[in-house]
Every structure is written in C-alpha cells, then in structure tokens.
C-alpha cells in the first residue's frame, strides 16, 4: 500500500490520514464543493473535488469517488464511517478496479447490512438474539398481530433496511400495532426503497454495550473489549466509555466470546463492532447488529488497549499483518468519549449549522485526546452530520476520566453556533451518571435536570 484515498470527510478522514502517515503511506482526500477549504483537505497530500455539496452528489457517488482514486493513482481506499462505508457495491467496485479495500469482504458487509440475515447468522453462531418476528413484506398485514403476541410487548417496529435509529417505532399497546406497521412500511419504502419491516422485543431499561472485534478471516478473530454507548439522544450516541461500569466479569466474558464466535462463523476480515442490548437489571444480553467498519467511538478502545485500530486495518488490508493473539490485547484504566455536536439541546437537539468564529482546544494533557473535523474559522454546514469533534479522556478510574473530560470541555472555547458543550458537562457531572446508572433513555429521563445544569454551566 503506497497511496490511500479516504472516501470521507471531517475528523475520521483526518484520523485515517494520521495512521497512514505513520506507516509511510501517501494520502488522498476527496471533497465536495462545500468542503473545498475543509481541514481534511489541508491534511492530505493531494485532494480531489468530487461534486456538489449534497452528499449524494459527492461523498455518496461511487463513480466519482472511484474515479478520484484511479486518477490520483491511489492503490487503496478507506471508507471511514457513514457515507459509503457499509455499501457492498462500492467495496466491490473498489476491488474490481484492482484497488485494496480497507474493510471486510463485500459479502460480509451485505450480510450484516440486512438485519434479518445478520440475526440469522448470529443465531447460527450461538449468539443470543432479541425475540423477534420474521420479515414482514411491504403491504402485508396478515398475521402481524399473532407475530406481535409471540414477540411480546413493548416492541419495536423496525425497517429491515434501516439503521442508526432511522425507521424505528415503539409500540406499547397491541391495538396500535397494525397502524404502526403500515406507517413504517410506507416510510421504509420511500426512504430505503424497501418497505419490509420486522418486530423486535423492546427492553425497557437497557444499556447499549458493544464489543470491538478484529477478524483475520480463516485465521480467526480477537476482541478488544467493550464500549458502553448507552447515553444517546434521538437514538444517536453522545457519550461512550470503556469498560462498561458494573458489568460483571462473567457477563463480559460471555459477550466477548459471543462476538468472537460471530466473527469466526463468518470468517470476518478487519475491524468491526458487535452491538448488544443489555438488560440493565439482569445483564441478559441480546445481539442488535454488527457494524462492518471503524466506529466513531473507536478511540475509547484505543485509549484503554493502547492499540491503533486504523493502523491495524491498514496493515491487515495491505497483507503486512496476518493475525494477532488475544493475549496481546490488554486493557488499562477507563476512557470516556464526548461527542461535541453543533446542536441546541434546549430545542430538542436541533441542528445548529454556522461558522466556528471561536474554536480553541484545551492544552495537551496526558490521557486527553481530541479528534476534530474543524478548525477555528471553519464553517459547519447543514449538508453533513453535526459532529464537530470528539473529546476522549483516559484515567486510572472512571471518576478520573470523568473529571478530566469535564475539565477539558470547560477549557474548550466554541462560539459562532450552538453546541452541546455545557450539556455534555452536565451529563458527566450528573449524580446518576457519576454513580454509573447509565441506560439508553438516561438523557430523556433526566432531561430537565441536565438542561438546567447546562444553563447554569453556560452562565458560570
């Protein structure tokens, strides 16, 4: 691997460039019209303009991205997360062009991208799955009520082709099931071109705990411990940490073994994440989905294990790394990641695009890492996701990491748009959070207290 094109933007493009540079690999950025002056463009050795601002006319355009790779003589493509990262056709096109795809085999992406197939694979690998129905095709209503009773309430109606919380509706009352299924089918048909849905049991007080894995194909797979990503808003993660507070060692062992079993069963290649929903009271865990790419929150794992996951991806894809023994993966201390979003927590976390008139980061401190997609003066446009930066703090204990993260957020100055900076501090310093009582509706349940604390923080 001599020259790597990163088919992405923002902090993840910059993050991948860093590891590529460390390995002596030249870097190519792609960018839309809106990103011509973006930080990731300045970081790369070369940059190619690939189209208009809307993602479907640039970052999601397979032909344009591939053309950029071929024109610059890149011999490998890293997709980052989001955009084309879980697009099997893109992975195939990259390989068909004779380039190295930094990711799992296209068939793995395709299998895991279809929730029903992913569930079937998990079941076959002996991984516990949430009670659920089979696929309910678009327009089909017959038998839905029986399926609902078998799954049990409360349940979720999910679009088979959906993801990231999109196309998901909760039903508590069996009388509401039919109308919700019909509405989700029609929404899914429009949004994803596939109106199939399925039903899944909903765990009322749940934690979202995921296992970072790395597969070496037929040579086996390893895990890099867990991340607790329970703190979410609008079904999207806000704060992630490792280890998961209070997770019994025996449960951790069963979860990591299940994740590795799934990788072995599918001869998985490269970095991936097996997501589980965990009952906060009983620690029963169920497979949710597998993400076949590097995740936003991967630095949490890097901080506790000392591994460079992107470097592992690049070395494995280039053939320089064939396997790694599990015994080489240690974990030390506790890491917490906070996602700084351009949004207004007081207004239902509505996006807040704008220009970063002031954006200064706290000084370098041991155990503090900031992955930012933007610099002072940059515009955060409405075209892409609202994440400005990730702040990751590592300490000997959870309290140390928590305190370090809050201090760093206080030392960070950001003006010109609304952000969740004060809200993040409010979460970190909330009594229940400090006690480790995290679960997926934590932010919803404590919203008033968190917003009040955030307002106080802003005044201070």
């Amino acid at each position: 691997m001599k020259k790597l094109l990163v088919a992405n933007r923002g902090e993840i493009a910059r993050r991948v460039f860093r590891s590529a540079r460390d390995l002596g690999i030249a870097t190519v950025a792609v960018h839309s019209e809106a990103d011509a002056a973006a930080a990731h463009v300045a970081d790369a050795d070369e940059a190619v303009a690939i189209g208009h601002a809307p993602a479907r006319e640039s970052y999601l355009d397979v032909a344009k991205v591939l053309d950029a790779a071929l024109r610059t003589g890149a011999d490998a493509v890293h997709p980052g997360y989001g955009f084309l990262s879980e697009n099997a056709d893109f992975a195939e096109a990259v390989q068909a062009a004779g380039l190295t795809w930094v990711g799992p085999a296209p068939d793995s992406i395709r299998a895991m991208g279809d929730k029903q197939r992913a569930r079937a694979l998990a079941e076959a690998a002996g991984v516990p799955i949430v009670p659920g129905s089979g696929r309910i095709l678009s327009g089909v209503i017959d038998g839905v009520e029986t399926a609902g009773m078998a799954v049990g309430y409360p349940l979720l109606v999910k679009a088979a082709a959906g993801g990231g919380g999109i196309g998901m509706k909760r039903v508590d009352d069996p009388a509401k099931l039919l109308e919700t299924v019909a509405a989700t089918q029609s929404m899914a048909a429009k949004a994803f071109g596939d109106g199939s849905v399925f039903l899944e049991r909903f765990v009322p007080k749940a934690r979202h705990i995921e296992i970072q894995v790395f597969g070496f194909g037929e040579a086996g797979a390893i895990h890099l411990y867990e991340r607790d990503c329970s703190l979410q808003r609008r079904f999207q993660k806000v704060i992630e940490e490792s280890p998961a507070h209070g997770l019994p060692e025996a449960v951790r062992a069963r979860m990591t073994a299940a994740a590795v079993a799934l990788c072995r069963h599918t001869a998985y290649e490269g970095a991936g994440t097996v997501e589980f929903i965990v009952d906060a009271a009983s620690f029963e865990f169920f497979f949710l989905e597998m993400n076949t790419r590097i995740q936003v929150e991967h630095p949490v794992t890097e901080m506790v294990t000392g591994q460079d996951l992107v470097s592992l991806q690049l070395r494995f894809a280039s053939g320089a790394l064939h396997s790694l023994p599990q015994s080489e993966i240690g974990n030390q201390g506790h890491a917490i990641e906070c996602r700084l979003y351009a949004e207004n927590p007081a207004k239902h976390f509505m996006p807040s695009p704008g220009t970063l008139s002031v954006f200064t980061l706290p000084g370098q401190t041991p155990g503090l890492r900031i992955d930012s997609g933007y610099r002072q003066g940059d515009a955060v446009t409405p075209f892409y996701d609202p994440m400005i930066a990730k702040l990751i703090a590592h300490g000997a204990t959870r309290d140390e990491a928590r305190t370090k993260a809050a201090r760093a957020l206080r030392d960070l100055a950001v003006e010109g748009l609304q952000t969740n900076r004060a809200f993040l501090i409010a979460c970190l310093e909330n009594n229940r959070f400090a006690a480790g009582d995290v679960y997926t509706s934590f932010i919803d349940d404590h919203k008033n207290a968190l917003l009040a604390a955030a307002t106080e923080e802003t005044k201070a």
Partner: protein
Amino acid sequence: MAIINIKTEITGNIWKIEAKPGQRLAEGDTIMILESMKMEIPVSATEDGVLVEILAEEGATVTEGTVVARIEA
C-alpha cells in the same frame, strides 16, 4: 384577514415542498421539509389559513429565520 410569514427555525436545505399555493392549511400542517445535518425538519403552518405563496425552491439553502412561505389567515 392577515398575512402570516412562515419562517424557518434553522439553517438547512429545502428538501421537499409539500403544499401548493391556494391550498387550505390547518395549523401544524407541513408546508415543506428542510434537511439539515442529516435530520428532516418540517416547516409547518403556524395558523389555519390559505397558502398564498412559497418563497423558496427545492434544493435551496436557507438560513434560520428566512421567510419561506406566506399564509392568509
């Protein structure tokens, strides 16, 4: 009879215009849908009335507080 200005709540791109001039709207009815940072945000009628005009085109970028439609209420 009063003319009500319908303004956008956030900066975004106009993804889809759903209502047509002359159409009768009830408070809360969607006039158009904005797309911002991967979120779809509806722009709705703030009162019952008749849609007089649409002042934006699909695909256009609008800043917060832009008048994008008028209603006669």
